[in-house]
């Protein structure tokens, strides 16, 4: 572009009406900075690139009366090694919703940053936030742009949850690497330990959970996942590294402090000293 305003910092593209989407805007002014651009440039060549970034594991979300909770363990793995023991994989997407990521950690963290910015950008330009389902759809679009990387073994899969003001309930959405979006009922887990986490929560879940009970159930689920999946980290009692837990409710998204999570973990560990497999559900 040879617009004279290019020299002014705000080129004519900045002034062009049209999109309220940050990714669409960036694709106009600096497409090379978007995550999907690397594949288009052919820089990756062929073959798997999965070994290039660490792998993030289990994320769990469940609804309770008046909100939704999302929790994730702290481990990232690289093959048989532990790449990081205090990684954060669950974040607030905006002030009403949460996002967690499993899969290629480097890609996932980048996607989360872009998604957070996408929601904020829309809200500022339009003067009102997107609907919960609108946010979930937007995440699909961002994910679709990552398909090229996913094909090379760098798939990152998010879990999205938020408080839906219009419907007055918490909602959970899961995704596949091609951008397919699926609304989940009550609870869902993603990542390598998700099978165990989901099985655990399935037996504990009640739809009249309070926020506190929901957090405890989520932590129990992660504990069970860590017992059976080597890529999921359990609570590190010595270093006081605990799962990251967020809630989203009418009052907005809020992270539960490490001190509070530590108290829950202490209760869980104490309980498992008498019954190592965790709380038992009645058979009938």
């Amino acid at each position: 572009m040879s617009d004279y305003r290019d020299h002014a910092g705000l080129s004519s593209t900045f002034l062009r009406a049209g999109t309220s989407s940050f990714t669409e805007f960036v694709s106009l002014i600096a497409p090379q900075t978007l995550p999907g651009a690397r594949v288009a440039s052919g820089a990756l060549g062929t073959g798997s690139a999965a070994h290039l970034t660490a792998h993030a594991t289990t994320i769990l979300a469940l609804c309770y009366q008046g909100g939704v909770v999302m929790a994730g363990d702290r481990r990232a793995t690289a093959g048989n090694m532990i790449a990081q023991n205090d990684i954060q994989k669950v974040f607030a997407a905006d002030e009403q919703s949460l996002i967690g990521i499993a899969g290629a950690a480097g890609i996932g963290i980048e996607l989360i940053g872009l998604f957070q910015l996408e929601l904020e950008h829309y809200e500022k330009i339009e003067g009102a936030p997107l609907s919960t389902i609108g946010k979930a759809n937007r995440l699909s679009t961002i994910l679709r742009q990552n398909l090229g990387l996913a094909m090379q073994g760098l798939a990152a899969v998010p879990l999205f949850a938020g408080w839906d003001d219009a419907e007055g309930r918490g909602r959970i959405f899961s995704y596949d690497p091609v951008g397919g979006r699926y609304e989940e009922r009550a609870y869902h887990a993603i990542g390598s330990g998700s099978i165990f986490a989901r099985g655990s929560v399935k037996k504990l879940y009640r739809d009249d959970f309070t926020a506190e009970e929901a957090v405890l159930a989520a932590l129990q689920g992660l504990y069970d996942a860590a017992e059976d999946d080597s890529a999921t980290g359990g609570p590190d009692l010595a270093r006081r590294i605990y799962p990251v837990v967020w809630t989203a409710s009418l009052d907005g998204a809020e992270r539960i402090g490490d001190d509070r999570v530590g108290e829950f973990i202490d209760q869980i560990v104490a309980g498992r000293r008498t019954r190592p497999d965790g709380p038992a559900a009645p058979v009938l």
Binding site: Y4, R5, H7, A8, G9, L10, F14, L15, A17, F22, F25, V26, I29, A30, T33, E95, G113, L114, L117, E120, H121, K124, I125, G127
Partner: protein, 238 residues
């Protein structure tokens, strides 16, 4: 071949400035003023949907007077500028100064280009600091000049009369309710017939230092604004 009339550059600039000023003078005024816990934006605006005041970034707010389509365009450009900068570097690298510079360059280039009409707008870019002393208020005019204002800034048709009232009555460290009342009193003293500005004809927002979330911008509307105008509430929850 016809020759265009010669117009002296001085005359050309003066005509363009008069044109822009006339457009701006038609609009209602906006006040940006600092108070103990942040920066307050008060605009006389009867529309609840077409805003004159807006959020740009975590600690940066925007206010404008003049032609709506022009400042709306500038507002969106500012949000894009800030968000792209934050995306490229870090959230802490987005500054009000950089944004004020970008606006100044753009307005200045358009004003002196001759190719298109000058923008009929005035802008304020306000940045909330960690302490009241580090708050920044930049006022930009149609020709791209920037002023770094202390404590408060006024734009619009009757800016001089309003600034006079503020100068007489402003004190540092005002509470939110006191600051809102002062701003409204000043807007009412614009030399036109005396009138009372109520909730329905005001647009009020703050950059709130006490807010724990990174985004400090909040609009104040409805009952909360009425409470502040009534004066009893020095509440903590905006």
């Amino acid at each position: 071949m016809s020759m265009p009339f010669y117009v002296a550059p001085e005359q050309q600039m003066k005509d363009r400035a008069d044109y822009a000023r006339k457009g701006i003078a038609r609009g209602r005024s906006v006040i940006v003023i600092d108070y103990a816990d942040g920066i307050l934006f008060v605009a006389e605006n009867r529309s609840q949907a077409l805003h004159k005041v807006s959020e740009i970034y975590d600690r940066i707010g925007f206010a404008a007077v003049g032609r709506y389509n022009e400042f709306e365009n500038l507002r969106i450009a500012g949000i894009r500028h800030a968000d792209f900068r934050g995306y490229s570097y870090d959230r802490s690298d987005v500054t009000g100064r950089a944004l004020a510079n970008a606006y100044a360059q753009l307005l200045g280039t358009i004003f002196s280009s001759g190719g298109e009409k000058p923008y009929e707008v005035e802008l304020i870019v306000a940045e909330l600091g960690e302490t009241p002393e580090t708050d920044q208020i930049y006022r930009l005019t149609y020709d791209g000049s920037v002023q770094d204002e202390d404590h408060y800034a006024v734009m619009g048709g009757s800016a001089d009369a309003i600034a006079q009232t503020l100068e007489e009555q402003y004190a540092t460290g005002l509470g939110l309710a006191a600051a809102v009342q002062l701003a409204v009193r000043a807007l009412e003293s614009d030399g036109a017939e005396p009138r009372q500005l109520g909730v329905g004809s005001l647009e009020v927002a703050i950059l709130d230092r006490r807010r724990t979330q990174p985004r400090k911008f909040r609009r104040i509307v409805g009952p909360r604004l009425a409470e502040l105008l009534a004066g009893s509430a020095e509440g903590t929850q905006p």
